[in-house]
Structure formats: structure tokens, C-alpha cells
Symmetry: C2
Subunit: 302 residues, 2 copies
């Protein structure tokens, strides 16, 4: 089972009734956190999914509202009893930023494995069938969007395998998609596997302008969490200057990419009532939802 929680829906600064934008992804007892602003650990505590199973923390960029909560979170993860290494992924500059921030939490009881993104598009294999993809986006400083994908293997057909006299000790490798040569015979996955099956894809995209390459990057995502810094279309000049998006721009991205569901997030502190602008977004992309702190979605393979 896959669960996704939007930990906060605010941008720029934490507010009394709105935590900063961040996402927690949970699969098979392992969790990935994307972004960690000031107060993220408090919203995580309210969510009650625990801290110890956070395996990876990803950063879109290094503005304080996306990363200032890291030192406190690392200490809290340490207090939860974690001793296993924790991976941190982020754009260029990761090492300097982590070195700077961890001055105030020097004795974390686990190793940090820092993975700095160095390509325009990159893939990280977290474990078998569990991938994190990044792509450069357009903000005022280097920034990336994330897609998390759980791939689903094609079904293995044991009857087919038996009929073709494929030795049983080769089945697992064929199931994983390997081609195997045994006693001068070539066995291919296609000989024993069923049709391709859709996995689960979640995309998370903030802070950026709605650049064209994002359409492919979030294509047909089951859930697309996207910034909507400004509700009204009249803020387009501000959005362009500050490298953020309007609600309507996020909705248009969702429509072009044919995603299943869009959650808006990263509201400007000045945007007190996002609901006023929801209808407009729904006219562009029907399945738009307003992000709220600790909004949850459970996803299962079809």
C-alpha cells in the first residue's frame, strides 16, 4: 500500500494555521520526505506516521521555507531510535548547506548519505521497483521537481515456464526482467511474463514557473502535488517575477499531462482563502483539490 500526505500547504513563512509545504510518501514501511521547512516536524508529529522509517529526505531547493526544519527533524529522528543511515537528496550546493545547518545538531546518531543532483534529469533507485526522478525547474535559485514511482512487475506465468521447460531456479531472474542464457539456450522475460502493468506515480513540483518539460515529467501521475502561489490570474506579473505559478497555470499543467488528480499547495501568506479561486482551476482541470495540512491519499495498484 502506498500512502501520501501533504504535510503543509503554505509558502514563504510558517503561519499559525498553515504549515510549510512538504510531502511524506510511505511504501512498504519506508518513507520519503520531500522538503522540510520550519515546523514540518510538528505537522509530522500530528500526522502520527512516526519518524524512524524516514529513509530519504529530498529538497527541491535551499530557500529557508523548504529546509530550515532539517536540523530539528534530524534530532527528532535520532530521538526516535534511528541508527540506520539516512539519505538526503538535493540540488547543487547540498554539501555546503548540510554542513552549515548541522552545526546546530552535531551529534546525530546516524550517518547522513548526501546525494547531490548533478544532471538536468536524474534517477535514484531507493530499492527494487522504487525510484525517485528529478528534473531542473525554473525558480530564482537552482530548484528541482520530484517524481516518485513504484514500478509494478509484469505477472509471471508458471504454466508457460513449465511448458517451455525453463528450470525453476531461473524464474526469479526472468521475473525481474533479465535475459538468461543456460545450457546454450536463451530465455527471455517475454517467454514467461504477462502484459505490462501500471505502477504508481506521484509528482511534487514547487517552486517554479510552469515550464514545458514538466508536462512529460508528471505525465499521467496518479497524484500531482503542484504549487499554486497565487489564486487570481491578475497576479501573473508577480508570479513571473518571483518564479511561481498561478492556480490556473498549475491546472493547465495537470490537464496537459493528463494526471489523475491535482493538489494545489504552497499558497502565498497573503492568500487567506484559497477556496475563492478553486472553481476557476476546476474549469481548466476538473479533478483539482485544494491542498490542506495533513491531507492524505492511499493508492493501490490496479
Amino acid at each position: 500500500m502506498i500512502k501520501v500526505a501533504l504535510i503543509g500547504c503554505g509558502g514563504m513563512m510558517p503561519l499559525p494555521n498553515r504549515y510549510l509545504t512538504s510531502m511524506l510518501f510511505s511504501y512498504n514501511g519506508k518513507m520519503v520526505l520531500v522538503d522540510c521547512g520550519e515546523g514540518t516536524q510538528v505537522s509530522l508529529k500530528l500526522l502520527k506516521w512516526g519518524f524512524k522509517a524516514i529513509e530519504v529526505i529530498c529538497f527541491t531547493h535551499y530557500h529557508a521555507d523548504h529546509i530550515a526544519g532539517l536540523p530539528g527533524l534530524l534530532l527528532t529522528i535520532g530521538n526516535s531510535g534511528r541508527t540506520a543511515p539516512l539519505t538526503i537528496i538535493g540540488p547543487k550546493g547540498l554539501l555546503d548547506v548540510i554542513r552549515g545547518l548541522t552545526i546546530i545538531c552535531p551529534n546525530i546518531p546516524f550517518e547522513l548519505r548526501l546525494m547531490e543532483i548533478y544532471e538536468k534529469e536524474q534517477v535514484f533507485e531507493i530499492m527494487e521497483d522504487f525510484y525517485i526522478y528529478t528534473i531542473d525547474v525554473e525558480h530564482t535559485i537552482p530548484c528541482v521537481a520530484y517524481t516518485i514511482e513504484i514500478k509494478r512487475r509484469r505477472k509471471f506465468n508458471p504454466d508457460k515456464a513449465r511448458k517451455q521447460n525453463i528450470p525453476m531456479f531461473l524464474w526469479n531472474r526472468l521475473h525481474k526482467g533479465e535475459e538468461v542464457v543456460f545450457e546454450d539456450k536463451v530465455f527471455t522475460p517475454n517467454m514467461v511474463l504477462g502484459e505490462k502493468r501500471k505502477g504508481i506515480k506521484i509528482s511534487y513540483c514547487t517552486d517554479t514557473r510552469p515550464i514545458e518539460c514538466l508536462v512529460d515529467f508528471v505525465k499521467e501521475a496518479d497524484l500531482f502535488i503542484c504549487e499554486g502561489m497565487y489564486g487570481e490570474d491578475e497576479s501573473i506579473d508577480k508570479a513571473m517575477a518571483n518564479k511561481h505559478m498561478l492556480f490556473s497555470e498549475a491546472a493547465l499543467l495537470a490537464k496537459k499531462a493528463n494526471v489523475k488528480e491535482l493538489w494545489l499547495t504552497h499558497y502565498s501568506p497573503a492568500l487567506k482563502e484559497p477556496a475563492i479561486f478553486l472553481e476557476r482551476s476546476r474549469n481548466i482541470f476538473k479533478n483539482t483539490l485544494l491542498g490542506e495540512d495533513r491531507m492524505i491519499k492511499t493508492l493501490n495498484f490496479k
Copy 2:
């Protein structure tokens, strides 16, 4: 008028219903903040005293629960329109810590004036009659306690000055406490000033063991804000190991120093109901209050 607010009363980590320990002091339109953990800016927002007038930020030490909120606060102060320099005071290591943390808030629109404490006891004059004192305390890393004092000048008696034929242009210097020589005559403040008058003294002390030198440092404070990490006396071993205080130790300090009022703060996250242990502290020092988020006290000269 002098106002003091306890911004939060928690220790170690921010909780959903308890902000981290921090104090805001306000006098004559200028504010001093002592400590700034994760979320302090949110509690400050709820307090509604504004951000722009924060002139000085003091740090007791550099554990994350006392400083992780700094980058976000600096940005919020910037957004409030401040362009005037802001002073930061803290123990040895200040420059490295600030350099590390400000990586994630590089474009603050005002100058930071860093004043690293280099003596066991030190005094900073913020403006005329407005002083901040520090003293080294005993924690697991270098840590200081703070006393803020607003001094009150002795009253100037113009009748006495006239009777002694003291030229009027010397009055101000005499009022300030200077001895003045004019036309071979010596004029001393005692010739024109009334009796000594008590100012206002506020002391803030966390995280430390209740070392003896604190008694003098907080002597007769109008308000003594002191950590009480553990409520029950049975936690003495933990308190000694982690270099913190029991409620009863804070109360004993208050009693020895003959302060007017004690506020307990910096509760352990495990201390869900501090009220259970209040009576015991009051048996030692009667005027003990349990600190709460955004508890306020207004003080006036007698």
C-alpha cells in the same frame, strides 16, 4: 513601559501545543529576543508585537531548539520592512553558526552585527540606561544566562542646582552621573541628584545546572525566567547528566536570589502536565508561576 513575553515554554523539540522556550523584551519601542527555536516566529506572530522593532537577538547556546528558527525569523523581519542593522549576541562560535545558518537566507535586507561573547561575564550597552549582561553557565556545550536591566537615573533637583549657582548647560551631564569641572570649580552629581532609584531587572536562564554564581547574577530580579526541565525531584540524575534543572532547583535559586517572581519554562517533552509539580516549587519559593506560551508581564518603575 517595559513588557516581557515568554514566547514558548518547551524544551528539546517543538510540540503541537507548546512552542520552544524564548523571551521577548520590549522597552521604548525597541525589542530584544532571547533564543529563537523552530517555530518561534509563529508564536511571535500570534503575540502581535510585530517584527520590525527587534533590535537584538541573543542566544544562550547553539542547540537547535534555541536557534533553528533564526533563518526564517530573519526573512520575516526583512519582510516587515526592516533595513536598519540588527545585533546578534551569543557565546563563542557565533560567527560560524551564523555563517552556517544564513546559507539558506542569503539576501536579508539589513546588516547583521555579530557580537560574540568572549568573557565569563560581559555587559552590552544597547542604548542609554539599557543594558544586557551575560554570564557563563554549566551546560553540555558553552551556554550563557542573560539579565536585561533598564537603569533608572537619580532625580535631578533644579532648585539645588540654582542655589549652588551651577550653570544650566552643565545640568544634563551632572544628571547623567558625570563629575564636571568648570571655571576651576568641581561639580559632582551628588550636589544635584536625589536618592538612588531601582530600575527594572529581568533574568533569563536556560539550559544549565543551578550553579552558585547565578544567585548573584539574578539577585532581586523583578522577573526571573528559569528552566525547569523536570518536575519531579526523582529526575535529579537525569538533570545532572543532561545539565538541566528540576523545578525545585529553579525555585531554590529564586529564593536565594530573592527575586520578585519566578516563571518556570523549558519543560521536557515528556512533562505533559507541569501543574502537578507546581505546589512543590511553591513550598520553596512562593511566587512561582508555570510558564505558558505568550504569557506576558508589564513592568513599571516604582
